[in-house]
């Protein structure tokens, strides 16, 4: 994949780039032993998911589906894809989120062409 994707001007789905930081990806000792247990990692993830989902639905509109990337590629790690019910809500969310902070970082939001997450693979 060339990664030169066409960005849609109208879509139900938005991508929030590198939003989720898996604690297991950074909390390693010098010899590569992970200091975060799987249970702690799951709890951290659940809290993150709930917080993001709640705020997005409350503020911008009904969500149909939300997915978080676990891939380790720079362009994918921690990406969050949110499919809203209405395209107008997705547009509103992108515009507003690009001027908000999240966990000490500015949010990078854009519209995404993905509509079916089971087919979201490009070659």
């Amino acid at each position: 994949c060339s990664r030169l994707h066409n960005k849609p001007t109208f879509s139900q789905t938005i991508a929030l780039l590198n939003l989720y930081q898996n604690p297991q990806n950074c909390a390693q000792t010098a010899n590569g032993v992970c200091m975060i247990s799987d249970v702690e990692m799951q709890q951290h993830y659940d809290d993150f998911f709930e917080e993001v989902f709640t705020e997005l639905e409350e503020k911008y509109g009904e969500i149909e589906e939300m997915n978080v990337c676990d891939n380790l590629g720079d362009h994918l790690v921690g990406n969050v894809y949110v499919k809203f019910r209405y395209e107008e809500d997705a547009e509103k969310a992108v515009n507003d989120l690009n001027n908000r902070w999240f966990n000490g970082h500015p949010i990078h939001a854009e519209l995404s062409p993905v509509t079916d997450f089971r087919e979201a693979c490009c070659r």
């Binding site: 917080e51 001027n99 902070w101 999240f102």
Partner: protein, 43 residues
């Protein structure tokens, strides 16, 4: 009487990087793009 569910306080939303509380995120990203601040700030 039914108790209203108390909303959990957010841990992540609207938390700016330390020292950059006074500038908007859009400006922060523009400064990153211009190389005025590093692209990733370690917290």
């Amino acid at each position: 009487p039914r108790k209203l569910l108390k909303k959990k306080p957010y841990k992540y939303w609207d938390v700016p990087p330390p020292g950059f509380e006074h500038i908007p995120p859009l400006q922060y990203k523009a400064m990153q793009a211009a190389g005025q601040i590093p692209a990733t700030v370690l917290l």
